[in-house]
């Protein structure tokens, strides 16, 4: 699966693919070792599927379990939301700003 995703990354200009930016924050960025990447998915991929593929590519993300959150275009992503060309995805652990 990891290879499949990487293969997609090399086919960004092919018909039937969409390319998006993916941002990682906080402990998720440390785990992945990247702050931002470009990734391609098949057209009509849903957000839930896109983030599942990212977990496969970056198994370190599985360490966060259910506390991992996903956003598309600066909003928490509904699972059925379709991912479009140029979207900005983000992956991060549950937030902890503010105070005690």
């Amino acid at each position: 699966m990891s290879q499949e995703l990487e293969a997609q990354e090399e086919e960004v200009d092919e018909t039937g693919k969409v390319t998006v930016r993916v941002l990682f924050f906080g402990a998720a960025r440390d785990a992945v070792g990247e702050a931002e990447i470009l990734v391609s998915f098949r057209k009509h991929t849903k957000a839930a599927s896109a983030f599942k593929q990212l977990r496969v590519t970056y198994p370190a993300l599985n360490g966060f379990g259910r506390s991992l959150l996903f956003a598309v275009n600066e909003e928490y992503a509904k699972p059925e939301r379709e991912v479009f060309e140029g979207d900005e995805l983000a992956v991060f652990p549950s937030v902890s700003g503010g105070v005690a």
């Binding site: 924050f25 600066e74 652990p93 549950s94 700003g97 503010g98």
Partner: protein
């Protein structure tokens, strides 16, 4: 979304926050009370000493989530305005990380709304805290386990 003019404000800053300036930025003639939460870096937590903290934000989304929070707070509470300023970057012990100020005609609503706002901010606004200790550092885990269900 409210059509009436808003006095709300939502900001991220890397500069030290002046709590009094935030608390008094908006004073409206129909208001009698502002409740302010000043959150700051605590040195001692469960016997462990923190040397300093680092706050990281997903800035554009953090501001969007604060604005969403602002709209919801007006639906829930009889308040006149809410203002939130959150600092990012390195913070020394005792420095303010976040100020939430809520002005209302009556203090009860201001207290309730301010407490709701910090709870909601910690649940949904994408800002993360890293604590730096004498012997290492650690991202602080949030608790929003079911936010996305």
């Amino acid at each position: 979304m409210a059509e009436k003019p808003t006095h709300d404000f939502f900001e991220l800053t890397v500069e030290p926050i002046d709590v009094g300036a935030v608390a008094r930025r908006v004073v409206l003639p129909e208001c009698g009370a502002t409740v302010t939460l000043d959150g700051y870096a605590r040195e001692w937590t469960k016997g462990k000493r923190t040397l300093h903290l680092v706050y990281e934000a997903y800035p554009a989304m953090a501001l969007r989530e604060m604005q969403r929070l602002g709209q919801e707070i007006h639906d829930r509470f009889e308040i006149a305005y809410v203002g939130i300023v959150h600092r990012t970057g390195r913070l020394e012990i005792g420095e303010t990380s976040v100020v939430i100020a809520v002005g209302a005609p009556h203090r009860r609503a201001a207290f309730e709304a301010c407490e709701w706002a910090i709870r909601e901010l910690k649940r949904t606004v994408p800002i993360w805290k890293k604590e730096v200790f004498e012997d290492g550092e650690a991202w602080v885990e949030g608790t929003a386990e079911t936010l996305q269900e």
